[in-house]
Amino acid sequence: MVSERFASRWDTLVFVTCVGLALTVRALPENAQEAVASAVRRTLLVPFLAVEQQTTRLRAAYANAERFLAERDSAALRAIGAETLAEENARLRDLLDLRAELPPEPIAAEVLREATPTRGLTVILSKGALAGVRPLSPIVTPSGLLGVVRSVDPGRSVGVLWTHPDFRVGAMTPDGAIFGLVRPGGGGPNTMAMLLTGVPYRDSIRTGTRVYTSGFGGVYPRGILIGTVLGVVGEQEGVARTYVVRAAAHPGSVSHVIILVTRARDVGTAYGLGHPE
């Protein structure tokens, strides 16, 4: 135990310097902040993240083995039917003279967790650029959409979850008739609510309707489950309605995710058109 009591002038000076540094870092541009964070993840944190990754993998093997087997069996059953559908789809695209669609490449990754209170807003994923992960790749779970990759290190990547205030995704109803924009419902990582905004006033969505990604914007492929509509939460008279949506994927219950790396990023590339000069 130290014998000195209270803080000396030196202690106070060091403390003020630390606070000043923290304030300076907070004020840095986002690119500079990400560069610092990435450097720390690639150096100081490497051994600790390796320990966490192995532990997460081990825990998943023990805790979720039966669930993984059940999910694999269900997926295998669905795949039997999907093969026929894929063939039919290819024939139809051929008839319409459309170029073959490039499906997103799935990359499985573990979710590494943190202990601070805003942990539910971002995640560290165990795969990075070396595995082919790119920024703006969607992160999904078997339940539905979880988020999007924000930055990529060689061996890890950082994902922004749907709870993050900056998260937005184009959404549609299952029949593709009604479109809107989904954003977090506010309140931070402890809520499961999203908001479906910008739904035209003339359209009405029934409670219990599922909402999927619309594919607009080019980041999220069309057809990933986002959540289920719980009801109307607000409206601009005669213009648009806002619905509250219960998210399909809960950030707190996820230990493994699939990162979808899409090779075709925009309509021009997908349809084989060159970019304008």
């Binding site: 135990m1 130290v2 000195e4 009591r5 209270f6 803080a7 000396s8 202690d11 106070t12 000076l13 060091v14 403390f15 630390c18 606070v19 540094l21 923290a22 304030l23 300076t24 870092v25 907070r26 004020a27 840095l28 902040q33 990400e34 610092v36 964070a37 990435s38 720390v40 993840r41 100081l44 944190l45 600790f48 993240l49 320990v51 966490e52 532990t55 997460t56 825990r59 590494l112 967790r113 943190e114 202990a115 601070t116 209170p117 805003t118 942990r119 807003l121 971002t122 560290i124 930055s151 950082v158 993050h164 205030p165 506010g186 309140g187 931070g188 990582p189 402890n190 809520t191 707190g252």
Partner: protein, 165 residues
């Protein structure tokens, strides 16, 4: 016990806590109520350190935390530096090597950290903020305090403490 030997043992305890943070927490599920071993390591360090050194240690722990959770980058650095400084300063004022006071010390560390990260860094508001500060923060504070007491009891000789009881 030589000064150097004591330093090595203290560093060993801190390293063990850091390894537990990354090696044990994934076993604790969601983890919102799970003990924060990194914060605990900082507080244990602060018990035997000067406020300035504890502030630097807090700043470094905050840097690691911010790198892992890049929301409002810098907010954890500030929060942990403040917690480290206050812990070392407060320990000098009232830390009586009493188990109840020590538990309250660890609990308060979690509360102050969460308050600063959430209020200064944002990321939660309204009901979400209330749920975090009213439910998850106290729960995490409680589990951290329990583990902290266990660490102090088990390693009190290495940490050169004499806990009553």
């Amino acid at each position: 016990m030589s000064r150097r030997g004591a330093g090595v043992r203290r560093a060993g305890v801190l390293l063990l806590l850091a390894l537990l943070h990354f090696g044990l927490r994934p076993w604790l599920g969601d983890g919102r109520a799970a003990p924060d071993f990194l914060l605990l390591a900082l507080l244990v360090y602060a018990i035997g350190a000067r406020p300035g050194a504890a502030a630097i240690a807090g700043f470094l722990v905050g840097l690691l935390s911010d790198a892992l959770r890049p929301v409002a980058f810098g907010s954890a650095m500030l929060a942990y530096a403040v917690v480290g400084y206050l812990a070392a300063w407060g320990k000098a004022v009232f830390f009586a090597e009493n188990p109840v006071v020590a538990a309250a010390f660890f609990f308060a560390g979690v509360v102050v950290r969460d308050l600063l990260v959430l209020v200064w860094g944002g990321g939660a508001s309204g009901m979400g903020l209330l749920v975090q500060l009213g439910v998850w923060t106290p729960l995490q504070g409680l589990t951290t305090a329990i583990v902290g007491l266990a660490v102090l009891y088990v390693f009190q000789r290495w940490l050169q403490l004499r806990l009553a009881g």
